[in-house]
Amino acid sequence: MIDAYALPRLFAGATNRPLSLEDHERVFAPTGEVASLLEELDASGLVGRGGAGFPTTRKVDLLRHQRGHKFVVVNGMEGEPAAHKDNRLLSTNPHLVLDGAEMLAQMIGASRIAVCVARDNPTVVNHVERAIHERARRNLRGPGIDLHTPPWRYVAGEESALVHWLDDNESLPQYRPGRPHILRIGRGPTLVDNAETCANVGLIGRYGAQSFRSLGTAEHPGSVIVSVTGAVKRPNVLEVNLGTPLANILATAGADPSPQAVLLGGYGGAWLSGDQIHTPYSNEALAAHNLSVGAGIVAVLPRQACGVAEAHRVVRWMAHESARQCGPCAFGLPALADDLLAVVRGGRDGVAAIARLQDRCGVIEGRGACRHPDGVVRFVRSSIEAFAHDIDSHLRGAPCAGARAKQRFLTVPALEHEEDLVWE
């Protein structure tokens, strides 16, 4: 049995093998009937862990009042190349995620649960498949659970893209004027929640809101799974108490104690400068720096790295990952990447490029069907601000040593040929 008031909660009983259903029920108390699941969820103040940080109760409320054959979708796609949290969670404690999904289904009255894991992670797919099979064998009552394996793309984890895939086999985001917008599979209203959010619901359903709130801060309660990557000795996935100073998290992963900057919230996120790493890691403290926890990514950039060159690599890759449905995204993001390259090369072109970059950011922002271009714009703006000094020296034609070194620190997958991209 675990102590629901202390860490680790989400990773309780974790070994390097997934917990079987018996083990899972031994570690966590067997699911009791919580009479007031909805009130507990409301009182817990859980916000989604997928990146947007939307309150989970609001989504549940929206869906509860819909009619029809409803679905719950568990999003374990892990679009961010720097993140490993959903994969880690689904391959240590898959039953906790499935418990949470069943509770969500019970709350909104859904009859099917779809668990989505990218097919590029065959191990995780296997673990989830086995977990679902174990449940089916036990003949648990309740909604049927299916496993779906869309291809991995950055935007495939976006909720409307995921629902589009389930509905029509295409991992492309949909146009949604007017949010909140109810996504549908066929005609059935669909609730999409991140795997980590589901696991948290699983905890709340068992131990109640009070124990959930015992960790974290008042406005951002609970624990969160953080993927620490970049210039760290032990790249790791950690479960941390929200509100822990970022420096402690970095120390646990063996990071450089005085980094140049830390990227928070993934490749659509922003940089926190290295001298502010004592900021508590929670949305309310990070909001002062215009940052958020997002999908729990912390990527460390050391002093010797060239921030501009790293930013260019990330933006180039993000441009490549655009679904190319919307003009401003399909043409705008490569243009941003070209401008950044010009800045890296420096000289007179670079000076023109930096002015153009600012203009183009303003032009592109908010004009895609999904938030992908907005994330890139946010990243570009933050990079310009965080590495202003480096950019200056690049423009003067005296780039830092890091630009000439071949070592790079952020994980960026290799670019595929456009015709090799798989969307369905």
Binding site: P180, C326, C329, A335
Partner: protein, 100 residues
């Protein structure tokens, strides 16, 4: 043409997935639309008062003239409030009849 309601506001919205960037809308509604460097429309999301009949007429022209049917005129104080404004923008205060 039906009756033109002179109260309330409207915005012209584009579905970026459907839009192919032919740029007809910039000719049909020059006061509302201008094109970016790639030829895709940039439309101000500021609500325009319905009383500006010229603007409303051109918005309707653009809506009908768009070869991809990507444009949509949204009225801001229609009885069922279509919250076509994204979550973080406040909805404009309507000057006309209040929605129920």
């Amino acid at each position: 043409m039906g009756v033109i309601r002179r109260s309330g506001m409207f915005v012209l919205q584009v579905n970026p997935i459907l839009c192919d960037g032919f740029g007809h809308c910039a000719e049909l509604a020059p006061e509302l639309v201008h094109l970016d460097e790639w030829g895709y429309p940039i439309i101000s999301q500021e609500p325009v008062p319905m009383a500006d009949i010229g603007a409303y007429e051109s918005a309707r022209y653009a809506e009908r003239g768009c070869p991809r049917q990507a444009l949509h005129v949204t009225k801001m104080n229609s009885p069922a409030p279509v919250s076509n404004v994204t979550m973080n923008q406040p909805r404009p205060v309507s000057r006309g009849r209040r929605p129920l």
